[in-house]
């Protein structure tokens, strides 16, 4: 079965057959893929070379932590690929961006207000957790479309704090 895996702007064509081998970018490789101790950790022997990766999946993105590096991979089969291309769908997230609390904590400051334009990297919220002041930054340019919390609020993990358009 054929898949297209994309990291940033690099795409790899990976063809899996059930005979313990795959074809990656035309290279034929023997593979033994083994999940360890019921954990999302995989030991992979690729032509004998030993790799270990821990993997988590968020929406369409597979996060692979490999040899101390994190890779965000989008995997599609040919059908999905064609579908996306015909509908000109983009991989990057579009439309509204929702800032959710990455961990429980207390909102100590909100340096922006509704309607304000922000650039990628600007601080949106300062959240205190584990005795540290953590700056939550804008992932892209945009305009603040909504602020759902106020300074002093205690928030739970994944609680929506603010939205950007």
């Amino acid at each position: 079965m054929k898949y297209i895996a994309t990291i940033d702007d690099r795409s790899f064509e990976i063809d899996i057959n059930e005979q313990g081998e795959i074809i990656a970018d035309g290279q034929r490789l023997s593979v033994d893929f083994h999940s360890v101790a019921d954990q999302p950790v995989y030991s992979m022997l690729l032509n004998g070379e030993s790799f270990e990766a821990s993997v988590s999946t968020r929406e369409m993105t597979v996060e692979v932590l490999l040899r101390g590096r994190l890779f965000l991979v989008n995997v599609e089969d040919e059908r999905q690929r064609r579908l996306r291309e015909t509908t000109h769908m983009e991989l990057e997230q579009e439309g509204e961006f929702t800032l959710a609390a990455p961990m429980p904590g207390m909102v100590v400051a909100i340096p922006v207000e509704v309607g304000q334009s922000v650039e990628k990297g600007d601080n949106l919220i300062i959240l205190e957790s584990m005795k540290m002041q953590n700056e939550l930054k804008a992932p892209r340019d945009g305009k603040v479309s909504g602020v759902r919390v106020s300074p002093g609020d205690s928030v739970d993990q994944n609680q929506v704090l603010l939205t950007l358009i």
């Binding site: 893929f33 821990s54 101390g68 584990m130 700056e135």
Partner: protein
């Protein structure tokens, strides 16, 4: 002489202290908050008592309750560890008033060094050079601070007078950003130490943060256990320490050591403590502050001197003489500590919480791990993010670095994100390997996410892994393959499967 000790702390340091007590045949009493019922220190202590709800102010900062518990349990002494109540002279005082031994310095010494303003004045009087900054008492108003700021000159540092560990510390490049920074510094200081006072200090550039471990007994002996290099910091949080410092030669070591002892003696210091110095590129050094407690990074000193600092703390508190004179202290090899924090280096080092599903710690020759967590334990947002200290010893700095690299590669922690990848990158960076760095290195010169050919090579590997995981998920979802219980945890290809049946 006390035979039972209450440990007024949690996490790895509580476990460390319990270990020292056990090896001395001393009984241990643990305390815990609601979320720490299953914590390692509770499991390992001889006794354990509930303090209260998770927030520190309701549990680990409840000095009154802790003393109550100590007396009820018949403990003869209290070890505060670091953080929490460790540098609160009022707590040390209260412990003594309750007829218990405080395993640490005298309250007067904690107070003198605790107010960083007073501390600077005291050691300066004793002839120890200090960093230019605000003088005398530490409870300055915002107005006072703004006034002296210009005299000191920019860039400067706003620091918590009750501080330590970089909490409540801010850098100011100009006067107009001072008010906001003072405000946030006070807020963080208040949260961390229950005291919002701050003071100002000139910001030395290209400086290293090098500290000297000292220990004094009640018989008038004060010795130092040489230096620790602590310049590898991010937002004033130490991330990696080594002993000795690659920057310090023997003459400088002796000079710093002597002045460190003098600074300690200036406040009639007792038990273990650390003098932090800033050292500029011309090897001039300036007193920064004294941490009147056991230091997070004490193990690297233990590994190069052979002195068990925590056991020595307890002996000194029992009124014993130091086991070693200054002449006995010699450095053997090199030690490095990496602080393993539950932080996501790929997401601005935000804290990461949750249940640890798997922990495989490195081991083998020259490797030590101090930790308070285990697989199944849950990291909560209530306390700091340090979950483990990885310490490696080597005959040389080179061997210690290579050993640390392999130990980091072996470390497996699942359930939360950790800063292990940061350390792996750091230990591979040429500037670190040759020992050329200052306190700004991590933030200004070190690239965490750089691209190299290894990156290129691993991308396709990662792509393959992601594809196989996706493929497998699809197959399982579609239930094309019926799998035995064993196989769900162990996906095999038909080919491989057949091979195994032979």
């Amino acid at each position: 002489m006390f035979t039972k000790v209450l440990i007024a702390n949690r996490g790895e340091i509580a476990v460390r202290i319990i270990r020292a007590c056990r090896e001395l045949g001393i009984e241990t009493v643990a305390i815990y908050s609601d979320v720490d019922r299953a914590a390692l220190h509770v499991r390992q202590a001889n006794e354990a008592y509930l303090l209260g709800p998770a927030p520190s102010r309701d549990s680990y900062l409840r000095g009154d309750k802790i003393i109550e518990i100590a007396k009820a349990a018949g403990a003869g002494a209290i070890h505060p560890g670091y953080g929490f109540l460790a540098e609160r002279d009022d707590f040390a005082e209260a412990v003594q008033d309750a007829g218990l031994v405080f395993i640490g310095p005298r309250p007067s010494a904690i107070a003198a060094m605790g107010d960083k303003g007073v501390a600077r004045a005291t050691v300066a009087a004793a002839g120890v050079p200090i960093v230019p900054g605000t003088e005398g008492i530490g409870d300055l108003s915002d107005e006072d601070l703004l006034a002296v700021a210009n005299e000191i000159g920019f860039p400067l540092l706003i620091k918590a007078t009750a501080g330590g560990g970089g909490k409540g510390m801010r850098e100011a490049a100009s006067l107009d950003e001072m008010p906001g920074l003072i405000k946030s510094a006070r807020r963080e200081a208040e949260a961390a130490f229950g005291n919002g006072n701050v003071y100002l200090e000139k910001l030395l550039l290209d400086a290293r943060h090098i500290e000297i471990q000292v220990i004094a007994d009640s018989h008038g002996n004060t010795i130092h256990l040489a230096d620790r290099e602590c310049s590898i910091q991010r937002r004033h949080q130490k991330l990696l320490e080594e002993a000795p410092s690659p920057f310090v030669d023997e003459p400088l070591r002796q000079k710093m050591g002597e002045l460190a002892c003098r600074a300690a003696e200036a406040v009639d210091y007792l038990n273990a403590g650390t003098i932090e110095f800033l050292v500029d590129k011309d090897r001039n050094f300036y007193f920064l502050e004294m941490n009147t407690r056991l230091q997070v990074e004490h193990p690297i000193t233990e590994m190069v001197t052979g002195v068990d600092i925590v056991k020595e703390q307890i002996r000194v508190a029992r009124g014993r003489k130091l086991r070693n004179s200054q002449e006995d202290i010699t450095l053997n090899g090199w030690a490095i500590e990496c602080r393993i924090n539950a932080e996501d280096p790929y997401n601005n080092f935000l804290p990461s919480t949750g249940q640890l599903t798997s922990v495989i710690a490195p081991s083998g020759p020259g490797v030590r791990v101090d930790t308070g967590v285990y697989a199944g334990f849950t990291i909560t947002p209530h306390y700091d993010s340090l979950i483990s200290k990885l310490i490696c010893w080597g005959e040389t700095r080179g061997e210690a670095i290579l050993r640390m690299r392999r130990a980091l590669d072996e470390f497996r922690i699942l359930g939360v994100r950790t800063n292990i990848p940061f350390h792996q990158k750091l230990l591979a960076s040429p500037r670190f390997m040759v020992g050329q760095f200052d306190t700004r290195f991590v933030e200004e010169r070190f690239k965490f996410e750089e691209n190299d050919e290894e990156q290129e090579r691993l991308e396709i590997i990662a792509a393959v892994v992601a594809t196989l995981v996706t493929h497998r998920a699809t197959q399982e979802a579609a239930q094309i393959i019926r799998q035995s219980e064993r196989d769900t945890s162990n996906w095999k290809w038909v080919g491989r499967w057949e091979r195994m049946q032979r």
